[in-house]
Symmetry: C2
Subunit: 493 residues, 2 copies
């Protein structure tokens, strides 16, 4: 039994054992460890990391003493024991994000997590120079979630080969039974980089934009890949699982009938969810992102709805309908990107991107950003990262600050303002948004018996201006005649 340095709560304990590199350890060797605490035990799958090295990674969720014992079909990896102490988490470590209050999220320590996502699908496949630039950009950007694919991407503006591939070469093709440890070590490092920045990694396990064959593996290879990815990645507390980007487009064509596909059918996606759920000891968040066909987010293994839809956040009254439909947090991960490419999915004006963030927010939902400005070297943020060129991120940062102010809980839609839409945190704090209309005044009706401070917010200029006095019952607020205004109400003591 070996004693090691204490591990912080929700940190990573990693056990490394040396074994044999002969045969195909990815197929031949079963290796796991059972971690035991007075509160219970956790079974954790290990993984082969190449060159005879076997690892098991574990994220302790209880303070105090842990012991472990390994299990393997290979004698030199079996029955190894050890112990470690789980100490207080380091600063800024609030644990993994969980669903909280039905429609919202919180870290494991109950600190609210207000999702403000962005997307750089293939940023980990661009080489260190660009990847490090992306990380520098994220350091000052408003985003606390990154949607990113494990596999490289082949698509318009994505013609470059990745530096690394997830599988070993086999002649001109790939040996799907042999993973590339180097590839996954690199990917994990980027997940850890995001963790250090306080950014959740929404890991997209599969996607259709592929020219290498990774989107069309057989079922056995798909399943093995999912188990391997989960074994390597689940111990990173900032991991979310996105089963796929535009999962339905893997059926072969955008119009494809999934049930006639000879690639992945709906039942395959159900099975993938179940594999991830079964092999992830920590119950990280799980969802799946749609193209035209929506996955049924009411299925029990879906923790929250990851939605591609601009329509639901273009205007009022639509986003809340999805809360009612699914009874889970709604994250609009793709609402069309700010940019200027020719494709309709990538030429939102910055004002419209900001508008969609506000519409989603006052609908009690969460929105994600993306950016697709043409670039001479095809470095579009939406896929490769780099630097941000758009005008929406500072306005999204402004909105994030407003969301984070007030009581530590999520917004619920409220009808305090008639024709417009608003959301409140209880009766203490509300945002009422006027959208693209430009009323010169608006009448509000606040909960009886309370008095409120009123501020007028310009969502584009990022200003707040307090109206003198406090207000109760029904009252009319004068507004400057322009689109993109909101009112913030804060309960007076």
């Amino acid at each position: 039994m070996t004693a090691v340095q204490p591990v912080g709560l929700w940190g990573i304990f990693e056990l490394t054992l040396n074994g044999s590199d002969s045969g195909n350890p990815f197929l031949d060797v079963r290796f796991s460890a059972r971690f035991t605490h007075e509160e219970g035990a956790v079974e954790v799958a290990g993984f082969y990391d190449g060159n005879g090295v076997y690892r098991v990674r574990f994220m302790p969720e209880e303070l105090g003493d842990w012991t472990y014992v390994t299990r393997s079909n290979v004698p030199e990896l079996d029955g190894k024991t050890g112990r470690f102490t789980c100490a207080a988490p380091g600063e800024g470590n609030h644990g993994p994000v969980r669903v909280h209050d039905t429609f919202h999220f919180a870290y494991a320590d109950e600190t609210p997590y207000y999702q403000v996502g962005t997307t750089c699908y293939a940023w980990t496949h661009q080489g260190d120079t660009l990847e490090e630039q992306t990380l520098r950009t994220l350091r000052t950007a408003p985003f606390n979630k990154m949607r990113m694919c494990v596999f490289p991407k082949a698509y318009v503006y994505n013609e470059n080969e990745p530096e690394l591939y997830p599988f070993a070469r086999d002649g001109d093709g790939w040996d799907f039974t042999r993973f590339s440890p180097e590839f996954f070590r690199h990917f994990e490092r980027r997940v850890a980089d995001l963790m250090d920045l306080g950014i959740e990694a929404d890991i997209i396990l599969l996607h259709p934009y592929d020219r290498w064959g990774f989107a069309k593996m057989d079922s056995e290879s798909d399943d093995r890949y999912l188990r391997y990815a989960v074994a390597r990645l689940a111990a990173y507390r900032n991991v979310w699982w996105s089963l796929a980007n535009e999962f339905d487009f893997t059926a072969g064509s955008q119009e494809g009938d999934m049930e006639k596909s000879d690639n992945k059918r709906m039942a395959d996606w159900d099975r993938f969810f179940q594999i991830v759920q079964e092999h992830d000891p920590y119950g990280h968040l799980r969802s799946i992102h749609n193209g035209r066909v929506w996955y049924d987010h009411s299925k029990p293994w879906v923790t929250h709805a990851s939605v591609q839809s601009g329509w639901h956040v273009e205007d009022f009254g639509r986003a809340p309908s999805l809360r009612e439909k699914y009874g889970k947090p709604i994250v609009f991960d793709e609402v069309v990107y700010e940019g200027n490419i020719e494709h309709g999915w990538g030429n939102l004006s910055p004002r419209e991107m900001v508008h969609r963030f506000w519409v989603g927010t006052v609908g009690g939902c969460y929105v994600g950003h993306g950016e697709t400005y043409l670039h001479p070297e095809d470095i579009l943020w939406w896929s490769k990262g780099g630097v941000l060129h758009g005008q929406s991120p500072p306005r999204i940062a402004f909105l994030r600050r407003l969301i984070e102010q007030g009581p530590p809980r999520g917004f619920e839609p409220v009808d305090w303002g008639g024709d417009v839409e608003g959301a409140a945190k209880g009766d203490e704090y509300a945002l009422i948004y006027f959208g693209n209309d430009q009323p010169g005044s608006h009448t509000l009706r606040v909960p009886a018996g309370n008095r409120y401070h009123v501020e007028i917010i310009d969502t584009w200029e990022m200003t707040t201006s307090q109206v003198e006095g406090t207000f109760s019952g029904e009252f009319t607020v004068s507004l400057p005649t322009k689109p993109g205004l909101a009112v913030r109400l804060m309960k007076a003591e």
Copy 2:
């Protein structure tokens, strides 16, 4: 037989006879004239104009000699004959507007009429000072149609009493059997003022916004009023008939079930249309404007659809569906007004108003303007006229100039640009509109064998800039990255 000065084609010949003022001439006296030309005869109802004066007004639609003979149940008005010559129309007189090419309009002389409407519901009830200001405004405004109510209006921002009422007083109420000739003479003068400005008068015969009882007359009074209004007004060539504004709201409440109403039911509206159609010798345009319930514009007496709907012109693909549905011209007479009032129907930004004009235009339809900016004396253009305060009218004027350029025919929707929407006049002239998106480039596919000049249009800045060269087949146009752009294509000789 009396010979008189020649009357211009589509001008007004008015015959005045003196008779008795005793009893109730509105009820008791039947008076009409039959006008005969070598091409045929026209039966025209006369009307009592008070103080023993009886008139019949006639708009000749054929050049050359006309004779007439009166008919009446009163001897002194019966059998009067006369003749006049119909001469060439005066300058700027193109005759009444008719439906042309299924979805469009043209004047009787086949000059195209591209409807660019506005609305001042109650402008003729505001007294001469304000009414003359409205006319001065219209002189330089881009509008060629005015929607206006016969009856005064009682509604928010419309609290003032009119100077004149359409009926004679009867104690505290009204004698619906006695019209006020003074009221109608005033109203007619305003219709003539618009005619002089080249503006069509879309006369709204009935409406629900009433505190005097004019919206709740019995059927006999409704029918008598319609006949009287048509007898007085039909000879003005710029008249269009709008049976009502928000006809369904006359049922008593905005949620009212028309078929349970004790006021006007759907069959009443059908009858009103038939009365107007039967009594108008010239077949002026006829439609009706909806609140929540739409009238069935496919009924045979409806010449074009007068639509209240912002939704159909908010985004692409919606307006053309109404062309398919009705097979008639589609006029979006109310798409929400530019303004800053609290009500959702009156706080469009000017950009959004301009956007809706463009969306309707490239959908092969026509759009109407309205303006509702708060005013210290409640003089909102949408109802009372006055001066324009908004920023959309110059942009609407710019669009009107673009529409009027190119071949003399209406726009038909075309798919020359993929994700965006455009309309063309044959293969000679097209406008492709990018809406609120901001593509940095766009690929167009123009009809085979033709070459085009290409201009980039900024719909807000009102600029056009020609792209060097001519283009054919499929080609990509670079665009500045901003919303509200269009491309104009003109066939090169």
